[in-house]
């Protein structure tokens, strides 16, 4: 079974990254319009989100074809005109829809990982080896789930 093979976790993360990167682009554009280089730089600054900066350009083209982002050319003081990307109404709806689904998904996975004791302890970082595992700390369950 593929999911149990060594290294499968990194494969899952790759798939997750592939599936969520477009929403990350939409999220970056939700605040203000950006031109492509700045957008790529903001995404690349986040750990593990973008492995190859150049692949953002095909993604932007796809989002534009789907009508989720729109572009405008604007003059620049320091060079040629720049193409700015902004969120469309459809893009906003897609982002809002995803945000709700992602929140539920993340909470569910976090809860299971916390119960299994594989998650990072969110409180008491100086737990020693003799301390009971998170699955044994009945009283601290709610505290650990706070993000």
């Amino acid at each position: 079974m593929r999911g149990m093979e060594p290294g499968a976790a990194s494969h899952v993360v790759t798939q997750l990254r592939r599936g969520t990167i477009e929403y990350c682009v939409l999220a970056v554009l939700s605040g203000s319009q950006e031109y492509a280089f700045e957008l790529v730089r903001r995404l690349a600054a986040l750990d593990g989100l973008v492995t190859s900066e150049g692949t953002i350009y095909p993604l932007l083209a796809r989002l534009k074809r789907d009508g989720l982002v729109a572009t405008t050319w604007q003059e620049s003081d320091v060079g040629p005109p720049r193409k700015y990307y902004r969120l469309t109404v459809a893009g906003r709806r897609a982002l809002d829809s995803f945000a709700g689904e992602w929140s539920r998904f993340r909470d569910s996975v976090d809860e299971l990982l916390d119960q299994a004791g594989t998650g990072q302890p969110r409180t008491a970082p100086d737990l020693d080896a003799s301390a009971p595992g998170p699955w044994q700390q009945q009283g601290g369950q709610d505290d650990r789930r706070e993000h």
Binding site: T55, Y57, P81
Partner: protein, 256 residues
């Protein structure tokens, strides 16, 4: 290509990279191929400018942009990723939209919206005519509005419906029909490619100086990037008599 000068080895690296990208992108449409290469070329130019001494901000004017080392250029190209991977991503995203954020949109609402528009347009075109001969004439207006409300469009199209109901012929209905199509077109395109407000440069040479084949803000490519000759042009403003805004949906090369 760029304001930034690299040393000879760095420039060679950039040239090779763009050559590989262009060759790999031969499977794309000519327009998209040119656009992709132009985007990556622009990215490289801005990245090198940001790497240059005193160029930590890409918004700052290039100051003392000197020669960049081969290692710096190579590092920047590594971050960009192999050209073949970029083209593979292009092909993957162009497949069938599976996994697209577009699919996250509520489909039911989307279909319902389309059906609702169709019903509304149908009612506006023919509803009044058909009921006029079958029911009491004075009840026609109320019935039209009732049918529109049943179609869920009364809020959006009530004003148009009232205008139509006050009209006496199909000519008026055709005008309303045209307006509805305009509204639908603007919404379907997500405001892309359409300036709802009048841009400041209407009637003057476009400051973006792009060649537009598909529209103003949408399909235009920088002339230099597209490899085309510079073609100053003017925006053609279309003022719709029924809409408050000005729609600029064409951007044609200037004939002068």
């Amino acid at each position: 290509m760029t304001d930034v000068s690299t040393d000879q080895a760095g420039a060679r690296l950039v040239g090779e990279y763009l050559g590989r990208l262009d060759a790999s992108a031969s499977s794309l449409t000519p327009e998209r191929r040119a656009e992709l290469v132009a985007e990556v070329r622009e990215h490289i130019a801005q990245a090198l400018q940001a790497e240059a001494p005193g160029g930590d901000s890409v918004d700052a004017a290039p100051k003392s942009v000197g020669a960049l080392s081969e290692a710096t250029v190579r590092n920047m190209l590594d971050r960009l990723g192999p050209p073949e991977e970029i083209v593979r991503a292009e092909a993957a995203y162009a497949d069938d939209g599976t996994g697209s954020a577009l699919n996250a949109l509520p489909k039911r609402q989307s279909n319902f919206q389309g059906n609702r528009d169709s019903i509304t347009i149908f009612l506006l075109m023919f509803g009044r005519v058909s009921v006029r001969h079958r029911l009491v004439r004075r009840c026609g207006t109320a019935l039209d509005l009732g049918l529109l409300a049943a179609a869920g469009s009364a809020g959006r199209h009530a004003g148009l419906a009232v205008r139509l109901c006050r009209s006496r012929g199909r000519r008026r209905a055709r005008r309303v029909f045209a307006i509805l199509l305009d509204i639908k077109r603007i919404r379907d395109r997500g405001d892309d490619n359409v300036h709802v407000r009048r841009p400041a440069h209407v009637g003057r040479a476009c400051p973006a100086r792009h060649v537009s084949r598909r529209g103003c803000a949408d399909g235009g490519l920088p002339v230099a990037a597209a490899g085309a000759r510079r073609a100053p042009h003017r925006h053609l403003a279309v003022v719709h008599p029924r809409l408050s805004g000005t729609i600029v949906n064409r951007c044609r090369p200037c004939s002068r």
